[in-house]
């Protein structure tokens, strides 16, 4: 169990990382940290893809992981732009205080 590493080990690790990221998204009150936590969750997901791709000998796992990476990059870009704009107009990054959708 400790010395013999199976795919399940990697998936459990991914699940733990995912849970920690989720906690960050749910509980933190800084938009930037929430974004960081989302990145964490995406990476956990990637880890699962790659692990299962390795396990099944299928290249699809890596391909999807690459696409997820692209999506993550796009998400980070847009998210950061929004954060920059929000912090400029609202002078806060606390999502609790951002209750208005008007600019």
């Amino acid at each position: 169990m400790i010395t013999e590493i199976t795919t399940t080990h990697w998936i459990v690790l991914a699940a733990v990382l995912f849970g920690i990221g989720l906690l960050g998204v749910l509980a933190r009150r800084n938009a930037l940290v929430i974004l960081l936590s989302v990145e964490l969750m995406l990476n956990a997901a990637n880890l699962v893809f790659v692990a299962l791709g390795h396990h099944l000998g299928d290249v699809q796992g890596q391909v999807i992981a690459m696409v997820v990476m692209a999506i993550a990059a796009a998400e980070a870009t847009v998210g950061l732009a929004v954060i920059v704009l929000v912090s400029r107009t609202c002078r806060t990054l606390n999502p609790d205080e951002l209750t208005e959708l008007k600019g």
Binding site: L26, P95, D96
Partner: protein, 625 residues
């Protein structure tokens, strides 16, 4: 020329549009537009009817209005003999009354609006007269009804005027529904609603001798007559006309005496081809007319409001015309329509001048001796009274006599009713005249004055007509009018003089006059109170208009209102209750659910997560199972 005839109703319509759009700017100048439009129409009409009457050929112009596979509806104008004399009457009387109204309505807050409505009414009336089909006639008919409603309720601040307007509108609407169904049935049966075509088609259908066709046409005739009952205020839909006197007096003169109420009679005349060969329909017309004539005259005996006496008199005279048509005396009925329009308009305008000069008092018991203070009004009113009472040589004499002659040959009972009504008419008209203009003024607090020239001049012009308009239809001129308006589909009728009948009706009128003088003259021999006491219950019946309004109130209106209340309660309780209950329930649920969506993003994420965990657990169960 023919297309010009189509423009006759257009000018008043343009006048209406112009006044209603520029009311504030026009102000005191509004009557110039209205009277001007009427005058232009009058001039065109003059050309039209002189040509029709001189050449004896109808004037018509039409265009294809709606075309479909099998045929087309044509829309246009058709002026034949009866249309021509109607045009003459409507344009002359209408223009004179509009001029009169310049003085009568002076200072009214809605001065320009009044003339706008009058113009619209003129457009409707002229449109109806020149229409060549039932559809255009019906549209014009409804325009008139609408104007009637507007003008009865013209004094909007007066609740009784508003109520009277609504009553008139609703009551005539009953008749209009009948007319509409009649038009549909006629269209369906005869396949056309063009008057000329109907004149050809209906006799052919009649000749086929098929029972169901005869039945359909008879029903159509009766339904059209229902329209007449509503518009011409025949029994049992007569109740609106006396109340319509709430409107300004020029309106009473134009709409509720001379033209619109006579439109019902004109309608029967226009569609006479449908009636003429169906004895059942004709008999109904005659009986309704005769009954209304007598019934209204009986009520008129005891009324004390100057305009109401005249209103019941109008009912009675309209009954005369309807009776004449029902007896088949087409020309006599129309002839009486024309003469009546002149003298009744004159009577109303005289009454208006009296009211105007007597500080808006309308109760004849408070008047008296006005001949000194209102000489011009007095003389014209006297002429009109003589005309309606049937004094020889005056216009009413000739036309009434024709009708009575027709009744004598057609139906002796109706002849008796007509003659008795003539007696009553003479009596109540002289009662009105004597109480108003002779004797001593009974209410000395009021200082009467003569009306301005702009009002009295039309009175005097109309007085000339009221005296002389009967001659063209009299034996002295060989019944020229009757010949001119005789429709081609009717067989030729001989007009003769029956001196006996003439003598009896003159005697009846004279009797009425003598009785009126005895009761209301300078030195009364019979006291009206004793007569009233002598007749007892009958007097009360007449005074309360035979309780018709009360009967309608308890038999029709009260149950209707009760049912409406019931339905209202059901609507409020059950239907609105369930609708509102649904709304309230949703509000309650959504109020409870609102805390779920308070705008907190992370709270959303947690609920989302809860769903995900739930799904994962379900998946686990599936895997384990």
């Amino acid at each position: 020329m023919n297309i010009l005839a189509a423009l006759i109703p257009v000018f008043p319509l343009l006048g209406f549009a112009f006044i209603i759009l520029n009311g504030k700017r026009l102000g005191e100048r509004a009557p110039i537009v209205a009277v001007g439009a009427s005058l232009i129409s009058a001039v065109i009409a003059l050309f039209a009817y002189t040509r029709v009457l001189a050449t004896h050929t109808p004037l018509s112009w039409s265009f294809e209005w709606i075309a479909w596979g099998e045929g087309a509806i044509r829309m246009g104008v058709h002026i034949d003999g009866v249309g021509a004399v109607m045009l003459f009457m409507v344009t002359v009387v209408g223009t004179l009354i509009e001029i009169y109204a310049i003085g009568y309505m002076k200072g009214d807050y809605y001065y320009s609006r009044f003339f706008a409505y009058m113009s619209l009414f003129m457009a409707g009336m002229l449109g109806m007269v020149v229409a060549d089909n039932m559809l255009l006639l019906f549209v014009s008919w409804e325009i008139m009804g609408l104007c009637s409603y507007f003008l009865i309720g013209f004094y909007t601040a007066k609740p009784s005027a508003n109520a009277a307007g609504i009553k008139a509108f609703l009551t005539t609407r009953l008749g209009d529904v009948g007319l509409m169904m009649g038009i549909f049935l006629l269209w369906w049966t005869a396949g056309t609603i063009n008057f000329e075509e109907l004149g050809l088609v209906v006799p052919q259908l009649q000749m086929l001798g098929m029972d169901h066709l005869t039945l359909a046409l008879t029903i159509a005739a009766v339904l059209i007559f229902v329209g007449t009952i509503g518009k011409s205020a025949q029994f049992p839909l007569h109740v609106w006309l006396p109340d319509a006197m709430e409107g300004p007096t020029p309106v009473s003169a134009l709409i509720h005496a001379a033209t619109m109420v006579a439109a019902g009679v004109f309608l029967v005349a226009r569609t006479f081809m449908v009636f003429v060969n169906f004895p059942d329909a004709l008999e109904l017309v005659a009986v309704v007319g005769g009954f209304t004539a007598l019934f209204a005259a009986l009520i008129a005996l005891t009324q004390t409001d100057i305009k109401r006496v005249l209103a019941y008199s109008t009912l009675s005279q309209l009954g005369y015309m309807v009776m004449a048509l029902g007896l088949g005396a087409y020309a006599a009925g129309i002839f009486h329509l024309i003469t009546h329009a002149f003298f009744k308009a004159l009577l109303f305008m005289g009454a208006g001048a009296v009211i105007h000069g007597y500080h808006h008092v309308q109760d004849i018991r408070r008047m008296g001796g006005l001949r000194h203070s209102m000489p011009r009004t007095h003389i014209s009113f006297l002429v009109a009274t003589l005309a309606i009472a049937g004094c020889p040589l005056f216009s009413g004499f000739w036309s009434k006599d024709e009708i009575l002659l027709a009744a004598f040959h057609g139906n002796r009972i109706l002849w008796g009713v007509g003659t008795f009504t003539a007696f009553l008419t003479a009596f109540y008209m002289f009662r009105l005249y004597l109480l108003t203009f002779t004797g001593r003024q009974r209410d000395t607090a009021i200082r009467p004055h003569e009306s301005p020239r702009v009002m009295t001049t039309p009175l005097l012009i109309l007085a000339v007509f009221a005296f002389g308009i009967g001659f063209p239809g009299s034996p002295l001129m060989h019944f020229w009018v009757q010949g001119a308006i005789h429709p081609s589909y009717l067989p030729h009728t001989e007009h003769a003089v029956n001196l006996g009948i003439m003598g009896i009706s003159t005697a009846a009128a004279l009797l009425g006059f003598v009785l009126a003088v005895l009761m209301y003259g300078p030195s009364p021999k019979i006291l009206p109170e004793r007569v009233a006491a002598g007749f007892g219950k009958l007097y009360q019946l007449s005074l309360h208009k035979f309780y018709i309004d009360e009967i309608y109130q308890s038999v029709i209106i009260a149950p209707t209102v009760g049912l409406a209340r019931l339905l209202f309660g059901f609507d409020q309780g059950a239907i609105d209750g369930s609708v509102n209950g649904t709304g309230r329930g949703v509000r309650l649920i959504s109020g409870a659910a609102r805390w779920l969506t308070a705008g907190n993003l992370q709270w959303y994420a947690i609920t989302f997560l809860a769903g995900a965990v739930g799904l994962a657990l379900i998946a686990l169960r599936a895997l384990a199972g």
